[in-house]
Symmetry: C2
Subunit: 341 residues, 2 copies
Amino acid sequence: MTDKNNNERITLAHGHGGLASHHLIRDIFASAFSSPELDPLDDAANIDLPTGEISFSTDSFVIQPIFFPGGDIGKLAIAGTVNDVAAMGAKPLFISVGFIIEEGFLFSDLEKIVGSMADECRHAGVRIATGDTKVVPKGAVDKIFINTTGIGIRRKGIKLSGALARPGQSVILTGPAGVHGAAIIVARNELNIRGKVYSDCCSLNDLVEQLLDKLGQAITVMRDPTRGGVATALNEISRASKVGIEIVETEIPIGPETMAVSEILGFDPLYLANEGALLIILDDDAVDKALRICHSHPRCMEARKIGEIRDDLGGKVVLKAATGGRRIVDMLAGEMLPRIC
Amino acid sequence: MTDKNNNERITLAHGHGGLASHHLIRDIFASAFSSPELDPLDDAANIDLPTGEISFSTDSFVIQPIFFPGGDIGKLAIAGTVNDVAAMGAKPLFISVGFIIEEGFLFSDLEKIVGSMADECRHAGVRIATGDTKVVPKGAVDKIFINTTGIGIRRKGIKLSGALARPGQSVILTGPAGVHGAAIIVARNELNIRGKVYSDCCSLNDLVEQLLDKLGQAITVMRDPTRGGVATALNEISRASKVGIEIVETEIPIGPETMAVSEILGFDPLYLANEGALLIILDDDAVDKALRICHSHPRCMEARKIGEIRDDLGGKVVLKAATGGRRIVDMLAGEMLPRIC
């Protein structure tokens, strides 16, 4: 059913729970995602976790285009939820997947996306435990949306939260700011810039595990700066922790392609999304060790300390500009980029 | 922001992670769904379960129309996932919610839907632990889709699965077949039939708890016959358990309105969805007790034994017709009703 014809398309019958649904589930999903939890194909999966102390996170992915340099909606859906669970200090173990597919979607594209998801699950060491598929008539959804919901087990003795930043701590960013957003902008607009821009889309639970193993309670906040970018994530943290944050413009890693895209289209790279970087807030004396761990990770070689937590900035996020001045980096007030993740 | 103007609409800015997103989350979601798990509003929620032996289920809801007699997409999204978790013999405790909303959607409609979700959560005794909201440009989704993913803790000594039906056991249906499907058809087509058709949409975890308390291991399968109805759910069970199932037409409760709708439009009510009924497969000597428990539940007063598990039907689901003949009730082969849940 799946490899006879490259033009075969999803029909409404694939979403009706009948024979076609069963073939879709068997041929595409069950074979790619096979696991002891998924294989019984009951309406819910039974999972045996070593503890009931878990982290739980959900995300819907509506990105456009669904294939982009550095990934696709499937890889993003796994990495995004893995990173949200990991950033709470938990070890992600199981993921549920909900597909909403437009009638007429190509089987071959679905197979590619499902293949990316399976690859990223293997990479991150997580398993898909349960799923759901809906097919809606043409025009009721744009191509394909994916929800992933993740469960991880929490580490004993570790408590991370956006509300736990303390004055005197440092802020690390593990990779160049805004590179996922820049890649999507280039892909959408077919911009002709020097050098290709690849999304940083990847799971970072292995990095989180190393950091917490080595540095434990010195780290109090981890967050992946997705929608709204570094600026928005730092604003969330400053509000939740009731602290000021100063970041230093010359210390923030930003790739030349991201700069070029931002200048051409008038975006501020601090508001562009990452999908494979973390903001880490930690005690100042742990910074060197944390940076060494980051630099030994293939996706975090450009990690840098970009600022610090302060008690004197009126609870604002402030950028110390390259020119020496200071400006407030506020929450994004208006629109920016829809469907970035 | 939410009650000044009945015509206020969701904009793309509500989905961008900036200021408008934070207002939406604070004013609509955090106030309706407030819980110790949700309130920190981190990217993942920390949950303390009494055991790591859980059931985990996901469902995306794309129903059209979003408001229908007997419920709306919000009530359905909670009840549907509660029932999927409960039908595995687990006690549902926590739910994640992912909204995908079309630009221009009315705030007042979102508030109604969120209110229904909060009500159904209270009714079912579950809490919303974490969530996500995406807003997509007009035309990229039809109004609103909701994903809910649920976690429940399993009961010791209970193992339910579609693969555990045994010859000699009986089949109970706890309410009139196909009534959710019939209600949606009437709502869509504005059919003028005698008597209003209300969806049976409701959480049945309280019923499941009573049944398992009283009957324990006598029950081996529970399933809510949603998409594809009773016929599809029984076919799934017969395949997974490698057994035949005989159902008796005159014993299957079907409301007169459902019959009327089916006759007018040429549907078979056995393939129409329920959203507040269960198929229960249990030892024959437990049937009377199970029916007494069902009949004392306000939503299951028409529960009936509708058939039995057999080893002589070649693994098929067979209907003993009112006229005395027998016919095979197969999986649905073609299309039926898109966007029924």
